[in-house]
């Protein structure tokens, strides 16, 4: 199995990377774990592969109560970092539930946020897929759609977002620093992942030549004692989520003062559960509040033929996540 030919060049510094990445048909290479899969499957056919993996953008640091992850930080280095373990355990859990040790040693956090969907129709060129070939039709909608989304789908695509890390980040105030030849801008995670257009051609709002340089997670350490990333999969390890829930609570005087909830495997983007959060505020961290949050999470779900099971699964995952954080650590 092998893809089309391309030229390889290694970026010498950030400006060089941006200049090279801005040319037509250029693609950045970080860890390469998704790019090489896509290329081997004929889903990516770059003419120029610009290797950014050697740029000094892999630092992991704290700036006050902001965790700053260089875009090229490896998943394994982030999850093993003492500050991340102490102040952001949910991020560690989401990473350690992702892929395998081999892949985590290669994969960067920036590349993780930009990985393409795992919809099997998208990944197989023999099958019809609007996201890959706009207008070709969506094979999943009336086909094997067990994996498909419950929320937020565009008319032409029912795929889900695959990243676990993105779900954890969606629960917090996360900002993405993006550079291009035009300059630097900062996006919220919601701006990185807008609701998809009709054919859902892209999985993020970035344009060709845009480079993520850093990810900033603001003021999340207060949730460290009561947070969890719960991932439900078809096998115990080394598998993408069927449903996942990132949950974080702050309890004050026996009542829930703040709640953050996001879910994966159910939408084309990491899906913030704001209704569930609202259902928790001001209540005791006990069953009635958790059940209410679970019910809120599934409000408005639009299942297809084979994924209705995800509705109770999501509700129960929300409840279970909350049950396991209520006592604190």
């Amino acid at each position: 199995m092998s893809g089309s030919s391309f030229e390889y060049s290694r970026a010498t510094d950030l400006d060089d990377a941006l200049a090279k990445g801005g040319r037509c048909n250029a693609t950045f290479l970080a860890g390469g774990t998704d790019l090489l899969q896509l290329w081997k499957s004929g889903l990516a056919a770059p003419q120029n592969v610009v290797d950014i993996s050697h740029l000094p953008l892999a630092d992991i640091s704290r700036d006050g109560d902001t965790l700053v992850l260089g875009a090229l930080a490896r998943l394994s280095d982030v999850s093993a970092h003492p500050d991340v373990k102490t102040h952001h355990p949910m991020i560690c859990e989401a990473i350690l539930a992702s892929a395998s040790a081999q892949v985590r040693n290669m994969a960067s956090v920036g590349g993780n946020l930009l990985q393409r969907t795992r919809c099997p129709y998208f990944r197989d060129r023999a099958l019809a897929c609007n996201k890959r070939d706009p207008g070709a039709g969506c094979g999943a909608r009336h086909g094997e759609n067990r994996h498909a989304a419950l929320f937020g789908s565009a008319a032409g695509c029912v795929a889900t977002h695959a990243s676990d890390l993105a779900v954890a980040l969606a629960a917090f105030d996360t900002e993405i620093t993006v550079r291009s030849t035009i300059g630097e801008r900062r996006l919220t995670l919601q701006e990185l992942y807008p609701l998809p257009s009709a054919t859902a051609a892209s999985d993020s709002s970035l344009a060709a030549g845009d480079m993520i340089t850093a990810i900033r997670i603001h003021r999340a350490s207060r949730f460290a004692p009561r947070s969890i990333y719960l991932k439900i999969r078809d096998r115990a390890s080394f598998e993408f989520a069927v449903v996942s829930v990132a949950a974080a609570l702050r309890v004050e005087d026996g009542l829930i003062a703040e709640a953050r909830l996001a879910a994966g495997g159910i939408a084309p983007l990491p899906w913030r559960l704001r209704g569930s959060e609202a259902a928790l505020i001001g209540r005791a961290p006990t069953e009635p509040a958790f059940l209410a949050a679970g019910e809120q999470a599934i409000e408005g779900a639009r299942p297809l033929e084979k994924n209705t099971f995800k509705i109770p699964l999501l509700r129960n995952a929300v409840v279970r996540a909350l049950q396991s954080v209520r006592g604190g650590s």
Partner: protein, 173 residues
């Protein structure tokens, strides 16, 4: 220490090919030996190790990161060499199974795999052993952590029970 190259072999393979493909010069250390290589931009590290250097211990199981048969160590850390673009790995310090132990002096992990009969066909074994050696440096604290830490290595023969037992013995768990 001798230095090896692959240009002769590659030159003859491309003989008569009118399309001049880009070749990337890179130097790597593989199993302690220095190699000066010229590789295709599209070559994976796995392809270079197997096809250019003839080190066939690393296997091409899925070629998609999903099975761990191609596991090698880079600076002591395990990676899936099928998803590694070789050109990106210049100056890397690579260990393949050929660089682990020898027939008369097995690595403790190799010896444990033999004692525990931790294989059947042996296809996944080079990847399993390299992965297990890297796992040791991550200090797994329990059988559960060993099982989880080895989830990137599949075994089509289902030798998992004995594989975990072998690693647990070496890890002292």
């Amino acid at each position: 220490m001798s230095t090896h190259t692959n240009t002769d072999a590659a030159g003859s393979r491309n003989a008569g090919n009118p399309i001049v493909e880009q070749r990337i010069a890179l130097a790597m250390t593989i199993n302690g030996e220095r190699y000066d290589l010229k590789v295709m931009p599209t070559a994976t590290l796995l392809d270079v190790i197997r096809d250019e250097l003839g080190l066939t211990g690393a296997k091409k199981g899925c070629d998609m990161g999903g099975c761990g048969a191609c596991t090698v160590l880079v600076a002591g850390r395990r990676i899936a060499s099928c998803l590694a673009l070789a050109a990106s790995f210049s100056e890397a310090d690579v260990t393949t199974i050929e660089g682990v132990g020898s027939a008369d002096r097995l690595h403790p992990m190799q010896a444990a795999f033999m004692r525990h009969d931790a294989l059947q066909c042996g296809y996944c074994t080079p990847g399993q052993i390299l992965s297990a050696i890297a796992l040791l440096s991550e200090n797994p604290r329990s059988i559960e952590e060993i099982r989880e830490g080895m989830s990137g290595n599949l075994c089509r023969c289902g030798a998992y029970t004995n594989i975990i037992a072998a690693i647990a013995e070496v890890a002292g768990r």
